[in-house]
Amino acid sequence: MEKKLALELKGVSKYFGKLAANKNVDLDVYRGEILAILGENGCGKTTLMNMIAGIYYPDEGTIYVDGNEAVIRSPKDAFAHGIGMIHQHFKLVDVFSAAQNIILGINDGKRYNISEVNAKVKTIADKYGFVIDPAKKIHEMSVSEKQTVEILKVLYRGADILILDEPSAVLTPQETEKLFAVLRKMRDDGKSILIITHKLHEVMSISDRVAVFRKGEHIATVNTAETSPAQLTEMMVGKKVELNIDRPDPENVEGRLFVKNLSLTDTEGIKLLDDISFVANSGEILGIAGIAGSGQRELLESIAGLSGHIEGEIIYHNPKTGEVESLRDKNPVQIRELGVRLSFVPEDRLGMGLVGNMDLVDNMMLRSYSKGRSLFVDRKKPKSLAERIVKDLQVATPGTGTPVRRLSGGNVQKVLVGREIAASPTVLMAAYPVRGLDINSSYTIYNLLTEQKKKGVAVIFVGEDLDVLVELCDRIMVICAGKITGVVDGRSTTKEEIGLLMTKTDTSYSDSEGGKGE
């Protein structure tokens, strides 16, 4: 079958400050095909799609639609060119019905008549096999119904190039299968579909071609039929980079934190954590690898006592008393007192750890204010602690009286990790501690963690850079969609192995897909 070019990108680049989110990207999309966009976190997939959809404007390069140069400065422009994007976070008005959301913003000059819109929505839905009640309110809908509304919103506007940002992230396998059936129907109808995904088995089952991205660059586009998951993973993670992080062998290893069958379900009934069991040992760095949003944050928060209703057990072996205690029955303060420290969650670095408007000393006091006996706070000890951290960790700050928000990201994290370490923890949890840091600061943090490990602390390190995980951690636990997909030895594993585990979802499901996902 001869294919017509629908969308063509030539030399497209986008910079955020000095950082290149996309560098000189060329990409072709044909009519009547499903193109999977594959890549790790932060490889520029979403930025590129946002440029096609008019959220961002490219700094360099040109976009052609149907062979003509297209200037896309807003989502409206994108619609004018027949391009519509379905975002991962739905843009819907909760109190409106499906149909009201679908026609929102359309000014076709006709009188506003909701029953006509309902009928038209129904026609489109029937054509592609969606099941939807146009009069149903969004807040009464399930996640997959909301997604359907988003897709219909785009179709209603006459889009024939559809971009879906991780559409299956929020769906159950059955719902995903239904969605894919609809997408195939749309493809056969001549529409071009770009689908961003992390899941290799989905790539294999739905796409005609795969475009692989790494660090903002388009590595290659291959025909799905002619490739394999192993080959795609290799393209995705790239060659191993030697970092030479100091990694002493673990000493005095004993079980410190036992997590058994931990599950967490959110208010919409989606399983954020699914039957997680692992042991964190003292004197060891346990790495946690996974695509962003696979449950890392929820896992750490559950251990720290910040999540609501968790199922399963979290058992802590107290090295001081030798007692065995369950963390589930304790509140965050008690857990902290036991020496279990959650050091940072940079999705909200300042919000959860430090108060931006307060200075270093005050931020130190946030952990110790309740210790004072008298009516007045004692600023002397926190001040000496702050001074020690500034000196030891080489925090670049005019003084300990500077509000934390004026410090750069790296220095903020040094302050935070310094404070948590000063409390001599027994379990130290660090999530993405080097995100956004320069190389030197990153190594400072790695050394801090290794030092803690040598002191016999059980360190849990959530990271996104596989090179770092492989060189820093003793064991690496890989999670995908809230489930553990494997625990590997940091010294013998490869990036490819972890990469495959990160994208491996429910095996029984991929078996039904012909086992392609393996």
Binding site: P75, V93, D94, F96, L104
Partner: protein
Amino acid sequence: MNIFVDYLLTAIPLGMTFLYGCVGEILTEKAGHLNLGIPGIMCVGGASGCLALKYLSTLGLPAFVLVILSIIAAFVGGIAMGLIYCFLTVTLKSNQNVTGLAMTTFGVGVTKFVMSGLAENGGMGYLYARDYFRYPFAQSTTSLKLCGVMVYLAVVIALAAAFVLSRTRVGLHLRAVGENPATADAVGINVTKYKYVATCIGSGIAALGGLFYIMDYSGSYEAYKSIEALGWLSVALVIFTIWRPLVSIFGSAIFGALYLAGSHLPTLLGVRFDMSVTPLLQLLPYIVTIIVLIVTSIRNKRENQPPASLGLPYFREER
């Protein structure tokens, strides 16, 4: 029975003061802006209407033109206040609560300045126009004479607001802006324009309440002093009516009745209250509002909640 009718016929017109403020505030809140400047805006509306009357009355215009012009003047006064509020909260994205309270302080102060200025120049002559506002019942000998043209105008505006909000594309877009401006922006709705227009028209409508209270309901020079208190009740009425202009028509009458309970209930029930109890009875509207808040919060029905992004400034760059 006659006492009861009298009670209603004073309560309903008083309620119209609330209705203007309430409908104006509903429009503003539907755009996602909590305008606590409503009491001040109502004061300014009264002042600008009276100012217009004073200077127009010398021109020998027909009575109905005078009425229309002073209504327009009040509306414009309200829009001017609305523009200041919008510039601060929409364009500069300042805190809506603080800005609103400042607008009230400012509006009350300006009104005091203008009205006492009018009084000193012997300018209370504008009060002669009261009869025109009472058209067509000015000559009536019954209680109906309390219902003037602005009573009907208030109901018409409330009905129109209800229609626009629920039955038109503009209303749909406006509600989307108040619920989820990012979504509205993504589908190409001009969020800033909608916020400005809704807030300014809302302020204009609220301002009419001030004029109505001075020129129609009370018709006294001192009247401007009580507008602020009534303005706060209008804001409470918005919650009472769970953001629905249609409900606010009845809600305003109820509020009017509750507000006047202190002076009418004793005669109606044939009992005597101590004078000191009256202010307590004037608390009734607030107590009822709190009860409504409790009930709607407990029932937690999504449709009865305030617009989701009420009070939050919208930053487009955020991602």
